[in-house]
């Protein structure tokens, strides 16, 4: 997604040098930007600045905010709930970015280089559709489905375990503080897999089939082709997916709200849910604003790193081609 910008900007920059332009007419195009700019100001920039401002105050949402400087941030440093929520975020990054990317890579390569080749592209398309389906589901609906499947009494998973004679494995999947986070992670892997798969399969279409044929003639097995052709060829896509999914993981809210509400006992609390409950349940608006400001800074930093890695990968790729 971020690549789009980079390439777009670059394409634009290239065009600039391409031919003579009439500078006289150029700037009146800025008028077309006016509605977008004003809307952005009102809906994104002003609220964001307000949020940042409020984070330096103590405020209940009514009356006037009391300026307290960095007090909220100092309090955050000592708040074990805050640190726990970020630790859970790291688990979410594993479940929503790392694992789906790895599984997506193997699946995409298998579908592209094996199923499509030996059984036809129809099989590959149908299988891809099955993996992608959870991605179009509203997360609230996915949450309902899974909280019912994972229910302790009469839940499908526990019933299934009983049916295959593993009654001792039955658990209160979402209600046990030691298990709840892993259960939520499992659900998120299910939700997330389709995205990397689809992006990787699209990326593989631009790989020269001759590369695979040559490798196959040289006797390279499937795994060697995967390591030496598939992986290097779609590296830009891997960076995009990792950046994009990591950001999504840091922002995860709906799933936690519907599955566990951060419980049991804060075992699945994440920063976005933590800030939400601080805003609207505890009405400590200043503190909630500080949490969301920290989250924003982390997300912007990660986006920049992701963008950097992508452009470096692209430059390297272009260097090879040149």
């Amino acid at each position: 997604m971020t690549v789009t910008v980079e390439r777009g900007a670059r394409a634009v920059a290239k065009h600039q040098h391409a031919g003579p332009r009439r500078p006289r007419t150029r700037d009146s195009y800025a008028l077309f930007l006016l509605p977008g700019f004003l809307a952005f100001l009102a809906v994104i920039i002003v609220p964001f600045l307000m949020n940042t401002g409020v984070s330096f105050t103590e405020w209940q949402g009514i009356g006037s905010p009391k300026w307290t400087g960095l007090a909220n941030y100092r309090e955050l440093l000592d708040d074990s709930e805050f640190w726990a929520s970020f630790r859970h975020s790291m688990f979410m990054v594993v479940a929503m970015a790392a694992v789906p990317t790895m599984i997506g890579l193997v699946l995409a390569a298998a579908l592209f280089d094996y199923i499509a080749k030996h059984f036809g592209s129809k099989w590959a398309a149908v299988l891809r559709a099955c993996f992608y389906l959870p991605q179009v589901l509203p997360i609230a609906v996915a949450g309902i489905v899974w909280s019912w499947i994972l229910a302790p009494d009469n839940g499908s998973l526990n019933e299934l375990l009983k049916a295959i004679g593993l009654s001792s494995w039955q658990q209160d999947w979402l209600g046990d503080p030691d298990l709840a986070l892993y259960s939520v992670m499992g659900v998120m892997v299910w939700v997330q897999i389709g995205f990397p798969l689809v992006v990787f399969m699209a990326g593989l279409q631009r790989v020269d089939p001759l590369l695979y044929e040559a490798a196959e003639l040289d006797g390279a097995g499937w795994w060697r082709r995967f390591w030496h052709i598939t992986l290097p060829q779609i590296r830009p896509e891997i960076y995009v997916v990792l950046t994009w999914c990591t950001i999504a993981a840091l922002k995860v809210f709906g799933a936690v709200y519907v599955l566990t509400k951060g419980g049991p006992g804060g075992a699945t609390d994440v920063p976005s849910y933590f800030s939400f409950s601080t805003f609207f349940e505890k009405t400590q608006v200043g503190y909630g604003a500080a949490i969301s400001t920290v989250l924003t800074v982390i997300i912007l930093l990660l986006s920049l790193i992701g963008l950097k890695l992508q452009t470096r990968a692209e430059d390297a790729e272009e260097g090879v081609r040149a």
Partner: protein, 274 residues
Amino acid sequence: MTTALRRYPVLVALCIAALFMIVPFLIVAVNAVKSPSEYSANGPLSLPKGFYLDGLKSFWERVDYGQKLFNSVLISGSVAVLAAILSVLNAYAIGIGRIKGRTWVLAFFVLANMLPQEALVYPIYYLSKQVGLYDTRLSVIIVFTVVQAAFGTFLLSSVLGQFPREIIEAARIDGANKWQVLWRIVVPVSRPTIGVLLVFFFIWTWNEFLLPLVMLISNDNQTVSVALGVLQGQRLMDATMTNAAALLGVLPAVVFFIVFQRTLTRGIAAGAVK
């Protein structure tokens, strides 16, 4: 023959994995048409003996699901159209007009798109109360129009950056003004990309949860996602009702998916790596 035999295990393994992905949908569908007594007698894994639709019906009436569907369609549809228009206007200035400092303008939109909604939600809640937009569908439409337009702006800007100049120059020479060039030439030619954007904006907005949860508290304004999420949070429902709710939530998504499958998979790829 031996190679064929070697190939099938991979296909079978992938089919099993795919089955695992859709099993939750199947269990929900199966249980949504069971009667409560059948459910409690045989559990969630048995096949339904009959076709019992009262659970679906009573859930539909209880939450006034028709109204929720209408709200979701109204909000997502308006956002899709408005955000596409806003994206086209922005991208026209950036990609075709090549205004000064466009890299920075683009960066501004990207940055705005990256901001987590958590960092906007309270001020938006507060400001909308001040101007009387709180708990209106319009408030959610406005916010998501802007959020989605950020993505649309940078996807379309790169597409329009490669727009053939000759066509525009020719139209200008024929006396068309910028506005006419935009609507008569740029928009029709870019229709495929705009189509992808419309589908995406619609589905993304349909699936949004945090902001609608905060902004739409009255029953008459809630979207499908919020209504189901809130019900689930209260844990007021029995098992058959939960399944009816889940099935009714899943169905619109599956319908979109089947109708727009090509657009979706193509669009995802275009959006991620263009």
